[in-house]
Symmetry: C2
Subunit: 283 residues, 2 copies
DNA sequence: GATTTTCTTGTAGTTTTATTTCATTTCTAG
DNA sequence: CTAGAAATGAAATAAAACTACAAGAAAATC
């Protein structure tokens, strides 16, 4: 738990003098971590033992230990607090807010993931005869991205971003086929129907979507990113980034699982691209 | 600069005893920040002043100050150090490595951005008659994503991921058109030619690409993400994520610049989608 | 190869910083 | 208004960090 947040939350549980300490710290945390206990006591206009007691109340061993905790939470740039863009932000402000909230979001997503399910998904993908990635709207770019990555493994893989093609593809499914459906909310009707159709035709359905959504219910395996987002004005930015990173994770798992033989194959594909470039490397 | 990294990098500039200290810290940074100078000296089998000298050599005021620095860099989950996936990583390991290195990469990207150029890009986009997003290969999904976002602003916007269409589109360019080219390396021949073609037809060319690349030279405005990446085996994962976040930033800047009127428009587009859903929200 | 110089390291002493103890003050409840 | 409890700070104690200096090792010079 972020120390600054903790202090804010417990402001009313402190005694009068202890609150003075809290406020002094909140006013300038940077000063706090670079002060001695005597100095901070003077700033807060209390005695040294009071500062010490304040530290202990926050479950630290004492003042130096408290400074350590505080320093650590400052290092994170408080990414969880108050990072929404508002109307009068300048370029500097909205740029760092977006980057920081994206990072915070990835962090949250990481902590909320079920590693066993990921492992399971990699299993399924490794054994698939054919893999298809489906997404609609904003999620279609995630599906495309997935296609791009799996394409290099030299296995049958496809990607559709319109419902008609998705349905047609599902009808031709057989056992051993894996369909990966991508939807932030899991409430896009056509996609839920596609999931149903796929399962009726014996395909294995993996969903990258919200837990407890209609789409999740229709799927064999759900990888959910617990990333709430205000989708009312701005677009589902961060959550989509998290989906992409999840695709990265699956790709990596896939690569590792299939071992060295396949990694050679990857290199060969890359080598084949080099001709169309000024130099080496990748787009 | 990350303290642990700094220690590693300077390992050979230390004297024999100081290196003992460095190694003791690297072996268990967590122990280090919770030890007194006497304790750490004992662990490293040196004297206390040696530890103190070691701290000063790293440009800190002394041992307590050093602990603060170290604590801060530990708080970031050591994302900069040694985060490459290797063959025998389990799901847990590669998942967190990928998430963490992506976050680190975003952080690096954020710090390397030129805010003025972003502001300039937003300016140009806001005044464009027509916006086109071009990408090839892995970058095409970024272009699609951009299309998806700008599409909602109710301005002429298009996206092509094959060279032929891109060239055709460029030939029809007129002054006031803006072309956004996306390429991780900036060395994809066809895309560089497209940039040339677009400029010959009076379009304004914005490139999301590496600085000092052929593509950068052919563009009117370059937004570069200084994100080096080992593209030899794994794909350009993190850098592409950074590009996407940059698109988010541009979109946000665009939204803010055009003011409240346009934000209403966004809401209307959203409302129009709702019918095709089980509930509200967005994919 | 010896000798001087420089750099490195540790011991012991000093100073700074943090913590504990305890007396005083300030609330709170009857 | 007073007994008891809680909060606070002064002073003393303990701990930690730092400094000065001297002994020893390594490097350079003759």
């Amino acid at each position: 738990m972020n120390t600054l947040e903790l202090i804010k939350k417990n402001l009313d549980t402190f005694s009068k003098s202890e609150r003075k300490v809290a406020e002094a710290i909140l006013a300038s945390p940077q000063t706090a971590i670079h002060s001695s206990i005597a100095n901070l006591a003077k700033i807060a206009e209390v005695s040294e033992p009071t500062v010490n007691r304040f530290c202990r109340r926050l479950d630290t061993k004492g003042f130096p230990d408290f400074k350590l905790h505080l320093a650590q939470s400052l290092a994170n740039g408080t990414p969880y607090v108050n990072r929404n863009v508002n109307e009068d932000d300048g370029p500097e402000a909205y740029t760092s807010k977006i980057f920081e909230s994206t990072m915070a979001c990835l962090n949250a997503a990481k902590n909320g993931l079920d590693i066993n399910l990921i492992n399971r998904a990699v299993d399924v993908l490794t054994q698939a005869n054919k893999i298809s990635f489906f997404g609609l709207g904003a999620s279609s770019s995630v599906a495309h991205d997935a296609l791009n990555k799996f394409f290099r493994f030299n296995i049958p893989v496809s990607c559709f971003d319109d419902v008609v093609m998705q349905r047609m593809s599902c009808i031709n499914c057989t056992e051993g086929d894996v369909i990966v459906l991508i939807s932030h909310t899991g409430r896009t009707k056509p996609l839920v129907e596609v999931a149903q159709l796929a399962r009726e035709n014996d395909a294995f359905v993996i969903a990258l979507t919200a837990a407890d959504s209609p789409l999740a219910e229709q799927s064999n395996l759900v990888l959910s990113l617990g990333v709430p987002e205000d989708t009312d004005i701005y677009m589902p930015m961060s959550s989509r980034i998290a989906q992409l990173v999840l695709i990265d994770v699956l790709t990596t798992g896939f690569t590792l699982r299939r071992g060295a033989k396949f990694r050679d194959n990857l290199k060969r594909v890359k080598a084949g691209i080099k001709d169309s470039r000024f130099e080496k490397t990748e787009d």
